[in-house]
């Protein structure tokens, strides 16, 4: 009885579904191109996923905090942090820590402005963070004159791509560490419990002595902070920056969070799901690339189409809204 119940619960658990889908995609990819199954390829895929995963940390927090919470400016925060860092580092290890702090600080400013706009001026989060994209893009142009300068400190590059054991680059360990911290934050801290409560029912949280505004504000700042960290990792990985470095992460981070079972209504989900979601998205686009769908005369188009369709199918498996009729 209990085992069937648990089994049923498992088959409905978004994290499990996403995990299974990811494995399926990976098996298909391995059949298609055996190289996919190689250790090196797995590590590369995970490395690519780690950037999305780290940037989506904050997205997870903001979405859990509810109130239509969403942060579309994570990509911009990542870009800004990378651009600032590269300029301060300028290819040298001198003042490394300072550069990192300045970069993360500038990313946090975005979160602070988002928080003020959403909480004080009551701008819907979607619109506020959309608008911030334009502002940050404008600022980057002003700051760089359109041509970002500098490059990553060798130390950062070392941290991110440096080989540790079994060819695992440093960035994966960093991702692992951050994941542990975030999951702990959500499950075993007063902040985490309050965050869920605020997301599930803000009035209840307020009337239970929680300050919902403070919680939501923290979520937005943390979101930009983690996006900034993601930007630094991207910088360390690619060593150079360009002005739309983080643009792709805007909606992909939302997709990763939702695939991981965190509903946009807030108050449900967790970061474990987001990890799986990030890996799923990465494996999917790697698979489409390996299958060489697109390329040649068709360009990028078929891959985009398939990516969208698969995403819909995956989301249909769960993540659906309640039916109006019970």
């Amino acid at each position: 009885m209990t085992t069937t119940l648990t089994a049923r619960r498992l088959t409905r658990d978004p994290v499990v579904i996403s995990g299974v889908v990811t494995l399926l995609l990976w098996v298909v990819a391995s059949f298609y191109s055996p190289a996919f199954a190689s250790w090196g390829h797995i590590v590369t895929t995970l490395t690519v996923a780690s950037f999305l995963g780290v940037i989506a940390i904050g997205q997870t927090l903001v979405i859990i905090a509810g109130g239509e919470g969403i942060d579309l400016s994570v990509g911009s925060a990542a870009t800004l942090s990378a651009i600032v860092a590269s300029r301060f580092m300028d290819g040298s290890n001198d003042g490394f820590l300072f550069a990192v702090l300045v970069a993360l600080g500038s990313a946090c400013v975005i979160g602070v402005v988002n928080g003020i706009g959403v909480l004080l001026f009551r701008v819907p989060p979607l619109v506020m963070t959309l608008g911030m994209i334009a502002v940050v893009a404008g600022f980057i142009r002003l700051y760089t004159g359109g041509r970002p300068e500098g490059s990553a400190a060798p130390l950062l590059n070392q941290l991110v791509t440096g080989d540790t054991v079994f060819g695992i680059p440093g960035v994966l360990w960093l991702w692992l560490a951050l994941s542990v911290v975030v999951i702990w934050l959500l499950r075993r801290t007063a902040f985490g419990w309050r965050l869920y409560a605020v997301g599930a029912n803000r009035t209840t949280a307020h009337l239970s002595g929680v300050n919902p505004s403070a919680i939501r504000f923290s979520a937005y700042v943390l979101s930009s902070l983690f996006a900034g960290v993601g930007g630094l990792l991207l910088l360390g990985y690619s060593q150079n920056v360009y002005t739309n470095l983080g643009a792709d992460y805007m909606l992909n981070s939302v997709a990763a969070v939702v695939i991981g079972g965190t509903a946009l209504i807030g108050g449900v989900g967790g970061y474990l799901g987001t990890i799986v979601g990030a890996i799923l998205l990465t494996v999917l686009s790697a698979l489409l690339r390996t299958m060489q769908i697109g390329g040649g005369e068709w360009g990028d188009a078929p891959r985009q189409i398939l990516f969208g369709l698969v995403l819909i199918v995956v989301l249909t498996a769960y993540g659906r809204q309640r039916h109006l009729r019970a």
Binding site: E68, I70, G117, F121, R122, V123, P124, L126, V127, M128, L130, G131, M132, I133, A134, V135, V136, A137, G138, F139, R141, L142, G145, G146, T203, T204, H206, L207, L251, V254, A255, V258, A263, L264, W298, G299, D300, A301, P302, R303, Q304, I305, L306, F307, G308, L309, L311, I312, L315, T316, G319, R320, Q321, R322, H323, L324, R325
Partner: protein, 338 residues
């Protein structure tokens, strides 16, 4: 009577409060329009000349039309992040069929319209029947539509029929450019639709879907139709873009989506649905376009333009938000009470 009334509950009589809350957003966006128009008239030479008006309205119309499309969807409680790609896909289909030939214009327009409607229908089915969350679902479909657009028209180009571009530039009675007429037609069609039962149901579904359902409003059908209509109107924006630019461009998707959402929010439509209207969104789009022009004409250094533009937009949105925000402001006990 007084005894039962529970007096002292409302400082203002109900009707007065209702009127105020309904007209507040309109007031806000009207004010913005006044400010931007005045500033444009001062800073922009020849703003009120026939040529200036024609040029202005030619740039207003595409954004205004997309904003109208997005508003129809948002009013019904949805959102469409794929709307920009619907515009590009439908315009790509049109321009490829048009081949710069006036004779093929009707066919091309019909095909573009059908494409838009089909995309919208697809979105609607995904959201209303599969019940996916609109933000993510339309993100996924935007990938599909964007890909299709690239298939149809791999790179910017194509030949728009001369009649289309010619008509678009025409100015009637000295001061009335065709795009302005189209803008008015768009608004009147909206008012017409608002007057139907469907218009009412759209607001009901966006305002409170469960209440609408228990009141025998066909909620799913209303939603699907709102996305379909939105897609269709979006394809009209595609036509306007073609007419304005003279060629197709498969890459402008996302920017249009963002603009449409900003315009409707400035226009006083509630992003959660059920409140607002296309009229406000049209004005919001005009304001947005004017601000863009203003930043250019105000002599802002090139590199700072985007930044200033972004900041002004945020400020406008915040202003609109402040004036529109009615609910959610009361915190605590009274706030949670329905």
């Amino acid at each position: 009577m007084n005894l039962l009334r529970g007096t002292g509950t409302q400082d203002l009589p109900g009707p007065v409060r209702s009127v105020m809350s309904v007209h507040m957003p309109a007031l806000a966006v009207g004010l913005l329009l006044l400010v931007t128009v005045t500033a444009s008239a001062i800073l922009q030479p020849g703003f009120f000349s026939p040529y200036g008006l024609s040029a202005s309205f030619a740039t207003f119309l595409p954004l205004a039309t997309i904003a109208a499309a997005q508003t129809i969807i948002v009013l019904g409680g949805g959102i469409d992040l794929s709307i920009g790609t619907i515009v590009t896909l439908s315009s790509a289909v049109s321009v490829v069929l048009m081949q710069g030939d006036d004779a093929r214009l009707p066919l091309a327009l019909a095909a573009g319209l059908a494409t838009g409607a089909a995309c919208g229908l697809f979105n609607g089915l995904v959201v209303a029947v599969l019940r996916l969350q609109p933000i993510v679902a339309t993100f996924a479909t935007s990938s599909v539509f964007g890909g299709l657009a690239l298939l149809v028209l791999p790179s910017p180009g194509g030949q728009v029929s001369p009649i289309l571009t010619g008509t678009y530039r025409m100015v009637l009675a000295m001061y009335v450019p065709i795009p302005a007429v189209l803008l008015v037609v768009l608004f009147l069609s909206w008012r017409m639709m608002r007057g139907t039962r469907y218009g009412q149901h759209l607001y009901a579904v966006g305002g409170n879907a469960e209440a609408a359902y228990t009141s025998a409003v066909p909620v799913s059908r209303v939603r699907v139709l709102s996305y379909t209509l939105g897609g269709m109107v979006a394809s009209l924006a595609g036509v306007a873009l073609l007419a304005d630019a003279g060629a197709g461009d498969p890459t402008l998707g996302t920017e249009l989506t963002l603009g449409s959402i900003a315009a409707l929010v400035i226009g006083g439509t509630r992003l959660r649905g059920g409140s607002g209207g296309v009229g406000g969104a049209l004005v919001g789009a005009v304001v947005l376009s004017l601000i863009q022009g203003l930043v250019f004409f105000a002599g802002v250094p090139t590199n700072a333009r985007e930044f200033v533009y972004g900041c002004v937009i945020i400020a406008a949105i915040a202003l609109a938000g402040l004036l529109t925000a009615r609910e959610g402001s009361a915190s605590g006990a009274s706030g949670g009470r329905r």
